[in-house]
Amino acid sequence: MTLLQIRSLTHWFGGLRAVHDFNLDLLPGELVAIIGPNGAGKTTIFNLITGVYVPSQGEIRFEGQSLIGLQPHEIISLGIARTFQNIRLFKELSVLDNVRIAHYARTHYSIWEALLRLPRFGQEEQRVRYEALELLDIFGLADLAEVPAKSLPYGQQRRLEMARALAIAPKLLLLDEPAAGMNPAEIDQLMDTIRWIRAEFRLTILLIEHQMRVVMNIAERIKVLDFGQTIAEGTPQEVQRNPRVIEAYLGEETIL
């Protein structure tokens, strides 16, 4: 059964067609990449999946359930987590709180239990605290649990964002340009991390990326977008040979 099914997804911003007739079937455990030049509509697709925008047309189903018209937090709670192109951490809040906030939907106590500190509040808070710290430990951030997120260096902020996404306990992880602003050594490390979390957390991953090296190395399938349209798809080898892709990426041949 497909985990995520997108059918003829189209989105307009006023008179601009950002996404045109986008289709995707994501099988459980797959790692698929969406590539394309700036403004090709890649991030818009993520925003449509997660309910930030309501699509002009088309259908998005997750485990058979339609996502159209759901609030972002409802969609996320179904098990879809994402990171952002331009890191969006809660900057003034502690590293620990950044991760704990992502436990919101999976924290099971009522407002009364919280206000009156009833037993279930204590149990749940303890569980959330441990789970969050465990995640931070996995990403080597546990020692920084109490510092504000804004004081972390760039690389650690990226890792925190990934830890925060995993705190949702997602089945599907949407990564929006995780390699942006990284040097080659960091990119190698990132690819390891992605492979590793994918195996450990049994994730399906949909990846947007500019760095061809990342995409060609870790993606099993690639979809190429240009001006909102899918111009090619297939395995990395197939895509690399596709003349339309070469044309769209003419200036970036060297990277390919």
Partner: protein
């Protein structure tokens, strides 16, 4: 070490208990004069108001300038109950019920303000709350049964110092519990980045509704205490001017801090009362007092927008499990019990 944990665990309750005893004994013994008692009561009421507004403006980063409206609702509803509904012999005992009812009524009004906040924020929400404040005042002025513009009276002086004390302690406790919970973290995440919050599963609408209702409830409580101290209320007590006082106290103490709210309310109240004596001494018109609050607001915004505390918190206001030592201990446990390996790096 042992001694430290003892004080951490029992220090605060002990001090609170002593405080309660003092709040009963001091006025009765005549050790403090009625004026000092009055100032102490005002400090208490202002602490509640400041925490109330801080939840919305400081913690959530929304912007309300209409909290005096919630206070008005609490004041009128509780007064109606004690004056018209409760039998005179029982009003002392039923007073907490009147306060609660005032708070709940205000909370319901808070629900009404929460909905526009789904779509608008910042200055547009400020206008919504402002309009709400104005409408409440205008409705009260037109309700002849409640005395219209002349106001409502007949309340007994039910607001004793120990009642104020009890309500303040309860409010601080509840607010602390709220702030240090999943809902409280949701509130903070809305302030930081609302879209990102909803994209890490925070139900932002739920959080907003809870916060506005809770905040309005607190303002309503304060209104009830205020009404039964003055024994006379009129719509002009709850104008935008009152809302501005609350803003000054919030930004003076520091946004996003309960300790800041307590400090801000205390310093503001003492300064304003001290000014009364100073002006009297210098034989200057008391009207100059009203110039000070707006001036403080301007100077604060220009020179110290983070207030006295600036997002920090007093240790005794942080729950035991959230203090640094507890987090470090939890970190060790999490490390030893970790189920999966560390990411290669």
């Amino acid at each position: 070490m042992m001694k430290k944990t003892f004080w951490d665990r029992w220090g605060t309750p002990l001090i609170l208990l002593i405080g309660f005893a003092l709040s009963m004994a001091l006025p009765a013994s005549g050790l403090i004069n009625p004026y000092i008692e009055l100032v102490l009561k005002y400090i208490g009421i202002n602490i509640i108001l400041t925490i109330s507004l801080n939840l919305v403006n400081g913690y959530m980063g929304e912007f309300s300038v209409g909290h005096a409206g919630f206070m008005a609702i609490g004041a009128y509803v509780s007064s109606i109950l004690t004056v018209w509904v409760f039998p005179a012999a029982w009003e002392g005992v039923l007073f907490p019920l009147a306060l609660l009812a005032g708070g709940i009524a205000a909370g319901l009004a808070g629900l009404g303000i929460a909905f526009p906040s789904f779509k608008t924020r910042g200055d547009y929400l400020a206008i919504v709350t402002l309009a709400f404040n104005m409408i409440i005042k205008s409705v009260l002025e037109n309700l002849e049964v409640l005395g219209g513009p002349r106001g409502f009276m007949g309340m007994s002086k039910l607001t004793t110092l120990w009642w104020v004390y009890l309500v303040v302690v309860l409010v601080v406790y509840l607010a602390r519990n709220f702030v240090y919970s999943s809902f409280g973290r949701g509130v903070l995440s809305i302030r930081e980045d609302e879209t990102a919050a909803s994209l890490v599963s925070v139900n932002t609408r739920q959080v907003k509704v809870l916060t506005f209702v809770f905040s309005a409830f607190l303002a309503g409580l304060a209104g009830g205490l205020f009404a039964h101290e003055l024994q006379f209320i009129n719509p002009r007590s709850f104008t935008i001017l009152k809302s501005t006082d609350m803003l000054v106290m919030v930004y003076l103490g520091g946004i996003g801090s309960l300790g800041g709210s307590i400090l801000g309310a205390t310093v503001f109240t003492v300064v304003m009362e001290g000014l009364r004596s100073v002006l009297q001494l210098l034989n200057i018109s008391q009207e100059w007092r009203l110039v000070v609050a707006p001036l403080m607001l301007i100077l604060l915004m220009l020179f110290r927008p983070q207030g006295i505390m600036g997002l920090r918190e007093f240790r005794f206001l942080i729950p035991l499990q959230e203090r640094s030592e507890a987090i470090q201990k939890a970190r060790e446990t999490a490390r030893t019990q970790r189920r999966i390996g560390e990411v290669r790096s």
